[in-house]
Symmetry: C2
Subunit: 462 residues, 2 copies
């Protein structure tokens, strides 16, 4: 299976590489026919990936040979860096032509990344109607439903017949992204239902839309966070979700391909935050950016490391008398950290998937505590036995056994509670949880192990 | 924004809770009219969620009042546990009726979870044609394209006219999941292109499909891993992706809503694996399951903890003479672990998103090493200064500074290399990486710090 997977990925990567190579060669030879031919046959996304490596000169030359429509498609597929770069080196008049073929949400994304004065120039050159739409869209926060919605959708009046509606669909279809779902409005332009293109094709020509539409519509408001939008689309298996204002007026729709991007983005964010990295960072961030983004987190961790160190330093006398404690103490603290991370991973993911809320967690916490007791007992028994075998001191073994149970209980308890409380306080459960939990398991782990050792010191010295 | 998000989530959760409560009440009162009314109005997914809490008796009674079509929809939306439970308590004759309204991929998923003899009974009762399809689908691995594809799609011959094709679409539409894309086959039943329903509606009635179709089709084979399928759908913004055999024969399609499930599943898996938890576990796993799934990981970690302890025990003499080392040594080891986790999170995510391959990483590793040097220098300086201030020993401060830089370089180096090597070996980069890296940073961190202390012991004792 792995080989097949590899093969499939290779085929895709080879296609990418081939487009890249042939295009570069053709550009070097200024072979217009070949360039146009390649551009026609390749997928826009592969062309976009190839362009990432091009010199400015090649980009300009290549763009000059493409139709506005194809160039628009390529830019829509390109990543943000390339988009911004192309926009920088392209003439405003050409940009205006390309925008004709782009959906409004993509135009807004691109405009949002332009320097303010250039953005102003571009918007001012648009038609008055478009200007209004774009200015509205630019007003929404980037990570909200309003920020990712498009205004290209098909809507029909609820009083139309099926054949009238079909005529409208044929009319508007070339200009929209999503055609699967048609949105039904009443006389006040309020969203009252949806009809799928399938139902429209199957229904009788004379049927009235109002009678065949689905009137139980899941919608969001423009301020809704994109993560919540993605959750709803995923839960109800939607192809698109409408965005409405307080008066149920239809403002736009969000299509499933944008939702996939949101899901990937939010998952990346959660995973990176759990690892103590900014969501802005990726493998190709510059050295300086990486340092800037990681250092604050490391400095916070340093603070908690000193808390742990201070805990240890309380017991320096004891350690000096039984130096084996120095070797054994990281075991208890480290295992607590591992167990805490396990609980944390389960809970943060559960929150992200909407399985965990503020209430109804008593039994779950109780379960985590029992998991801590039992896993602590097993690992503590193993650790105790090994320590006994290494140092020949039974009491040291017993102390590590008890300390391990205590620390794994703490790990389960805080591993569950901390992210849930953070979520209830409207803070991000992924970002700060791990620091709380490792601090708790470090400080408590050292304290309980060394504290027990100090209390039973006479037995350890025997 | 957070308030709005909360509000939106609350509205959704309230809807869920309301359906649950009213339905339970109506079932208790045996109020058939009310039950049917509720079932009619609520979303199938909300009904499925409500049923999770029902007694067997209530499930049977509720199911007896529903149409086969609605019950099929509810079961399709239900989670696996509920699906299996319903299948267990339902009569086989009713199951057969319900299956009429389900898509083949869902039927196969449900059959796959049934006890073998019951599955055999059910399949034997199917029509011969269906039996063949189902037996074929059951043969594919669960996490491959074949395992998640459906055989309900619309295909037309490439020689048809647009109006002929539209007639076919209208004919097949009620029976398929995906109608956006129509698959075009040649006389050998090979997949040669696709036409979107939009293009079909816009084209002239007399146009030939072969002339208007898109012939550059992205497809996968049935053995392709679902993660790779998801990557392609996401990259090319597809609504569905066709599955073809070696001879380009169309076997089925995978729709975007199933892809979203795959993405969520794979992301869950990656995040849980990084945290040292099995992908099978969630917040509501039983106590026993949680222990069984987490304990092996903790025992592996215990082994590495002993490696670290053994490293420390090499230097027991040194620690006995300068007991401050015991307090300071977890700082270097812990910070290395944190820095390693940062690099690891970036790299594992980069691999999952397809940004990192085996080649072309020299500069990236070099960058990680420099990040280690610089972040190590800053945190080492702070740590050294604090240690100097606490213990009044300049040399101890210098040692922690040097050890911190060394350990953060190790963290960056292994944090990058380990997941990339695991990926190249076709192993899962998420699952085993963190254990390698924390072992490396712990063992090396203790070794370099205590080793330096031992070497310069006379200065520390001054």
């Amino acid at each position: 299976m792995d080989e097949i997977e590899l093969k499939n990925e290779e085929v895709d990567k080879e296609r990418e590489a081939k487009v890249h190579e042939e295009l570069l060669q053709a550009l070097k030879n200024k072979d217009e026919v070949k360039i146009k031919d390649l551009a026609e046959q390749a997928h826009p996304i592969d062309l976009a990936i190839a362009m990432e490596d091009f010199e400015d000169e090649d980009i300009s030359y290549f763009a000059s040979l493409l139709s506005d429509e194809l160039l628009a498609e390529i830019i829509e597929q390109a990543d943000e860096d390339l988009q911004n770069h192309i926009m920088k080196i392209m003439q405003i008049t050409r940009i205006m032509q390309i925008f004709q073929y782009m959906s409004k949400d993509n135009i807004v994304d691109i405009l949002g990344n332009m320097p303010a004065d250039r953005r102003k120039d571009v918007v001012n050159l648009m038609k008055t109607g478009d200007q209004k739409i774009i200015r509205n869209l630019l007003g929404y926060e980037e990570n909200t439903a309003g920020g990712i919605m498009t205004t290209e959708y098909i809507s029909v009046r609820n009083t139309l017949t099926v054949s009238q509606a079909l005529a409208t669909v044929k009319d508007i279809a070339p200009k929209t992204e999503e055609i699967n779902t048609i949105y039904v409005l009443n006389e006040k332009k309020q969203l009252v239902g949806t009809v799928s293109i399938r139902e429209l094709l199957v229904a009788k020509n004379g049927d009235i839309i109002n009678d065949i539409m689905e009137d139980n519509v899941i919608s969001v408001e423009p301020e809704t966070d994109q993560e919540e939008v993605a959750r709803l689309v995923s839960k109800y298996d939607l192809h698109a979700i409408p965005v409405v204002n307080k008066r149920k007026g239809l403002l736009g729709i969000i299509t499933v391909d944008d939702i996939i991007d949101v899901i990937e983005e939010e998952n990346t964010e959660d995973m990176l935050k759990l690892g103590g990295v900014s969501k802005e960072e990726n493998v190709d961030s510059t050295l300086w950016d990486s340092i800037k983004m990681r250092l604050p987190w490391l400095l916070i961790n340093l603070l908690t490391a000193f808390l742990a160190a201070a805990t240890v330093s309380l017991f320096e006398d004891t350690i000096q008398q039984v130096v084996a404690l120095a070797a054994a103490m990281p075991i208890v603290a480290g295992m607590g950290g591992n167990a805490g991370t396990q609980t944390l991973a389960i809970v943060v993911r559960g929150i992200a998937l909407g399985d965990i809320e503020w209430r109804g967690n008593k039994l779950r916490i109780l379960k985590e505590i029992f998991v801590g007791v039992l896993n602590g007992a097993v690992t503590g028994l193993v650790a105790g036995a090994v320590i006994y075998w290494m140092y020949g001191n039974l009491y040291l073994g017993i102390i590590i056994f008890v300390a391990m149970i205590a620390n794994l209980v703490i790990a389960g308890f805080f591993g569950f509670l901390v992210p849930v409380v953070l979520k209830a306080l409207n803070a991000d459960p992924a970002v700060a949880s791990s620091i709380f939990i490792t601090t708790a398991t470090d400080v408590f782990g050292f304290f309980v192990f060394l504290g027990l050792a100090k209390t039973f010191l006479p037995y350890l010295l025997k």
